[in-house]
Symmetry: C3
Subunit: 157 residues, 3 copies
Amino acid sequence: MKFQNIVDVKLGNNVKIYDFVNIYGCTIGDNTKIGTFVEIQKGVNIGNNCKISSHTFICEGVTIESEVFIGHNVSFINDKYPRAAKNGRLQTEKDWILEKTIVKKGASIGTSVTILSGITIGKNSIIGAGSVVTRDIPDNVIAFGYPAKAIRTIENK
Amino acid sequence: MKFQNIVDVKLGNNVKIYDFVNIYGCTIGDNTKIGTFVEIQKGVNIGNNCKISSHTFICEGVTIESEVFIGHNVSFINDKYPRAAKNGRLQTEKDWILEKTIVKKGASIGTSVTILSGITIGKNSIIGAGSVVTRDIPDNVIAFGYPAKAIRTIENK
Amino acid sequence: MKFQNIVDVKLGNNVKIYDFVNIYGCTIGDNTKIGTFVEIQKGVNIGNNCKISSHTFICEGVTIESEVFIGHNVSFINDKYPRAAKNGRLQTEKDWILEKTIVKKGASIGTSVTILSGITIGKNSIIGAGSVVTRDIPDNVIAFGYPAKAIRTIENK
């Protein structure tokens, strides 16, 4: 691995991280894989046995429990009304409220999904590719669409 | 910063650019921040005090005024009917018409938004995450959806 | 070119590949251009005179015929129900079924399009930006939306 920025990261055992990544100030559990072109910000917690696919962005305020699949090109959000500037100067961290998101154990987030701020994705649930998640998703459902809605229950894990 | 391709760029004062970027032939104003995995093409103009977030693509023909927030994974477009080839050979710049887009002062473009070619985003307006913008958006509104529609006016800046 | 991971790739004549790419185990035809921040996985076949734009992900199981335009930030999928783990351990390739996708000659895939697994995109068809393609698209149509639907026929190539 030649092209990596990994700074101040607490890595579990047997973590695999590909090239072209920007990862800082976070915790990554055992056996988890991180794809190429991934950015993970400070304060993020990722559990054991997860897959974080390429082109994905995980922002501050996100917790990902164990055995979670995060597809390609997935984006999380932590700010409801983002603004660049305030009173003519660039905003700083003090100007916004961090809204937290959690993805519970065993969930799968499909490719190109966007997850708004302050969301809970339930245990074992699947979010279909291309969805925009605007509200909490319960455990054990398949949800998709813009906005993502639960369309059926998952019977067997 | 170790992994950057920045070629022929006119930089203002106090610009901050992260790693893994491909930026060429454009102008970037004072205090503006450019995130990781960003591509900005020739001829783009970006104002002062902007934030351009990671995984975003800004193509030729786009103007971004001052104090604009561009979220993560945002894509602009400048070609209405893109084709790879014409008469069996690869197309060149001469084969297409550049359609220009402008994002006006103080606007915010949410995460994973796609903006079609030839669009104006009004002053101070907010485009919700995951939206696909197919028509002009007026000043001082919140718009979202596919296609993005104005859903309410912003009272106070 | 300084920042490239290109491993075990069969390249045609006059292929142009930009920086910040992760490309392995695939075949790329004559005159084809590959943009920055692109990942192409093993087993992918790309024809002659194609343009693969920046931030795009092409997974195993995808075939792209000649003269195809793939826009920016396009994602393909090869697994219908992705999961990170099975019985408490990380899944491997043996745990999933590869579903194949083909993009036929002369087609154009717009920016930020997501294409589900097992899809055929017809010859010369155009998929509008931001679409999520959930079913096969016939030859010579313009399709868009979530899910993408054919809205009109292309008269003249």
